[in-house]
C-alpha cells in the first residue's frame, strides 16, 4: 500500500470504504426514516427514501400505548446497579489475585475464569428458582447480581493490576500502609483506564441483556428496554410504523453516547474484548 497513488485510485479507495460503511448502517438509516413516515408510506410496496411528510404520530402513539420511559428508566437502573456492583466486587477480587501472595491464587483464578465457558443464560431455569427463593424475582437485583460475576470483568482488572510496577507499593508498604490503603491510594488511581473500559463494557452488556431478563423480569412494571420492545412483536397485527418508532427511540441513547464517547467506547470494548 504505497502512499504515492494516483487521484483515481484514491477516489476509488474512499468510495469503497465509505460505501461499505454506508451499506452497513443503511438498515439503521431506514429505521430512522420509517419512524417519521406517514403510515401508508411505511406499508408501501415500493421503498420511499424521502417521505412526503414528516410525522411524529408514531412516537406519540408508542408513548400512549407503551410505558417507554419506564423501560428506559428500568434499563438504566439495572445497568447502573450491575456496573457499580461489578466494580466494587471485582476490585477486591482482582487485587487479591494480582497483588497479594497467597498459595493457590493462580489455580483459583483459572477455576473462576472457566465459568466463561458456562454461558450464564443457559442456567436460566435453575437460576430462576434460586432468585425466586432469594425473593429477588422481578427486582433489578435479579439481573444485576448475576451480571456482576462475569469472569471477563475479573480478567480485565487482574490483567491491569498485575502489570502495575511494584515500586510504589513497596515504598508504601515500608511506610506501613495496609492493603486497603495501597488499593485506594495507589492501585485504583493508576487503573482508571481499566475502570473506564470495565464500566463501559458492563454497562453496554447489561443494557442489552435479553435472555435472562426475559425470565427474571416478568412483571410489566420492571421490564427493561429489550423486554419491553418485545411486547411490540407479540401483537397479532404487525405495526411496523410503531415498531420502527420504538426501535429508533431505543437506539437514540446509544447513538448519542456513541457519537460523544466513541473513542472511549471502542477502546473500552477493545480492552475487555481481548478476552471475551
Amino acid at each position: 500500500m504505497s502512499t504515492a497513488s494516483g487521484p483515481i485510485k484514491s477516489i476509488l479507495k474512499y468510495t469503497f470504504y465509505y460505501g461499505l460503511a454506508l451499506i452497513w448502517i443503511i438498515p439503521i438509516i431506514w429505521m430512522a426514516i420509517t419512524a417519521v413516515k406517514p403510515t401508508p408510506e411505511v406499508m408501501s410496496f415500493t421503498p420511499n427514501w424521502l417521505p412526503s411528510a414528516i410525522t411524529f404520530e408514531h412516537f406519540r402513539d408508542l408513548l400512549d400505548k407503551r410505558p417507554f420511559f419506564l423501560w428506559l428508566a428500568n434499563s438504566f437502573q439495572v445497568s447502573l446497579l450491575a456496573t457499580v456492583i461489578t466494580i466494587v466486587v471485582t476490585t477486591f477480587a482482582a487485587y487479591s489475585l494480582a497483588r497479594m501472595k497467597w498459595r493457590g491464587r493462580n489455580v483459583v483464578f483459572a477455576i473462576l475464569l472457566s465459568a466463561m465457558f458456562i454461558p450464564w443464560e443457559i442456567n436460566s431455569i435453575p437460576l430462576f428458582f434460586i432468585v425466586k427463593d432469594l425473593g429477588l424475582l422481578n427486582t433489578f437485583w435479579a439481573v444485576a447480581l448475576p451480571l456482576s460475576a462475569l469472569p471477563v470483568s475479573l480478567f480485565l482488572l487482574r490483567q491491569f493490576f498485575i502489570n502495575i510496577p511494584t515500586e510504589l507499593e513497596d515504598a508504601a508498604r515500608i511506610d506501613g500502609c495496609g492493603h486497603l490503603r495501597i488499593l485506594w491510594h495507589i492501585i485504583i488511581p493508576v487503573s482508571l483506564p481499566a475502570y473506564g473500559a470495565l464500566a463501559i463494557f458492563i454497562f453496554v452488556f447489561s443494557w442489552n441483556e435479553f435472555f435472562w431478563s426475559l425470565v427474571a423480569l416478568q412483571r410489566s412494571g420492571v421490564r427493561t428496554m429489550p423486554i419491553g420492545l418485545k411486547t411490540l412483536v407479540a401483537a397479532s397485527d404487525i405495526q411496523y410504523d410503531l415498531m420502527m418508532a420504538g426501535s429508533f427511540m431505543a437506539t437514540l441513547p446509544a447513538l448519542i453516547i456513541f457519537l460523544v464517547l466513541r473513542r472511549h467506547v471502542i477502546s473500552g470494548i477493545s480492552m475487555a474484548g481481548v478476552q471475551r
Binding site: 477480587a93 491464587r105 475464569l113 442456567n123 435453575p126 492493603h179 490503603r181 435479553f210 435472555f211
Partner: protein
C-alpha cells in the same frame, strides 16, 4: 485491617476475604445453578407442591422426542453459519481498516461497529421489517435487479442462515475491534522486512498475520461458539422458532418448555445438556488447541 505484618498467613486470610464477595456471587449465580439445574432435571419439578424424583426420565423422554433432535440440529446449523460469518467479517473489516491509511478511518470503524450497540429486540424487529416479503426493502431490491428473492424468514431452508447473517451484521463489529487490537500488536518491522524480501500482501497475510493472530482467532472462535450455541433472542424476536419449528434452537426450546409448557424438569434437562455440550466442547478446544496462555 491495616496489617503491618508481611507474613503470608495474614496475606492468605486477607486475600481470601477480598475474594469473598466475588466468590459468593460466582458460586451462587454461575456454579450453583449448574448443579441445581441437574438436580431439577431429575425431578418432575413442581414449583409449588411436591416434586417427585424421576431419575433420568426427563432425559429419556427428550431423546425420544423429535422436537429435541430438531432443536439440536437447528442449533448446530445456526452455529455453522453464524460463527464463520462473524469471525470472517470481523477479521476482514479489521484488515481493511488496518490497510486503509486514511485520516477518517475512525468514521468507517464507528459505522461498522455501531450495530453492536443495538439491543437484540431492535435488531430482530428491524430485520424482520427489512426482510418482510411485502414491504421489506431487501426483497424489493433483489427483485429490482431481476432475481426472485426467497421468503427469507418464512422458508424452512433459508430461515437459519438468514438469522445467522443478521447476527453477523449485529455482532461482527465487536470481533473487528478485538482483532484490530491484535493486528496493531504485530510489529510493523515484520511487514517491512518481508516486503524487502519481496512478499506481497497475500503472502504477508498467510506468513505473518494469520500465524500471529491464530491464538486470538481460535479463542474468539471458541467464545463465539459458546454464545452461538446458546442463541435465543434473535430467533425469538424474528421468527419465534418458525415456520413450524424450523428455527427452534435448543435455548428457545428450553425457554418454551419452561415458560410455555411449565415443564421445568424437562427444561432443566435441556439446559443441562446444553451446558454439557458447550462446556465440554470449549474446554476440550482450549486444551486441544493449547490456548491456556490466552487465559493469562
Amino acid at each position: 485491617m491495616t496489617s503491618k505484618n508481611e507474613n503470608t498467613k495474614a496475606d492468605t486470610i486477607i486475600g481470601l476475604l477480598f475474594l469473598l464477595p466475588y466468590l459468593i456471587l460466582w458460586l451462587l449465580f454461575a456454579i450453583a445453578p449448574v448443579g441445581y439445574g441437574f438436580y431439577i432435571s431429575l425431578h418432575k419439578w413442581n414449583p409449588i407442591g411436591q416434586s417427585p424424583f424421576v431419575g433420568f426420565d426427563n432425559y429419556t423422554q427428550l431423546f425420544s422426542n423429535d422436537r429435541f433432535w430438531n432443536a439440536l440440529e437447528n442449533t448446530f446449523i445456526y452455529a455453522a453459519w453464524a460463527i464463520p460469518l462473524i469471525l470472517a467479517l470481523g477479521l476482514a473489516f479489521a484488515l481493511l481498516l488496518k490497510s486503509a491509511k486514511m485520516s477518517t478511518v475512525a468514521i468507517i470503524e464507528g459505522a461498522l461497529f455501531f450495530p453492536y450497540l443495538l439491543n437484540v429486540s431492535v435488531v430482530g424487529i428491524l430485520w424482520a421489517f427489512l426482510l418482510d416479503p411485502n414491504v421489506g426493502i431487501l426483497p424489493y431490491y433483489i427483485r429490482a435487479i431481476g432475481f426472485s428473492p426467497p421468503d427469507f424468514l418464512n422458508s424452512p431452508a433459508y430461515v437459519l442462515p438468514t438469522i445467522a447473517f443478521v447476527s453477523a451484521w449485529w455482532l461482527c463489529g465487536y470481533r473487528m475491534i478485538v482483532f484490530r487490537a491484535g493486528l496493531n500488536a504485530i510489529p510493523d518491522e515484520l511487514y517491512e522486512s518481508s516486503a524487502l524480501d519481496g512478499a506481497g500482501p497475500i503472502r504477508q497475510f498467510f506468513s505473518i498475520t494469520l500465524p500471529l493472530m491464530k491464538p486470538s482467532i481460535l479463542f474468539a472462535a471458541i467464545l463465539t461458539l459458546v454464545a452461538g450455541l446458546c442463541t435465543l433472542g434473535q430467533v425469538l424476536i424474528m421468527t419465534n422458532g418458525g415456520p413450524g419449528t424450523s428455527s427452534e434452537v435448543l435455548a428457545l426450546f428450553m425457554y418454551r418448555t419452561a415458560f410455555e409448557s411449565f415443564n421445568f424438569g424437562q427444561a432443566a434437562a435441556i439446559g443441562f445438556m446444553l451446558f454439557a455440550i458447550v462446556f465440554v466442547i470449549s474446554i476440550a478446544l482450549v486444551k486441544f488447541l493449547g490456548l491456556k496462555s490466552e487465559l493469562g
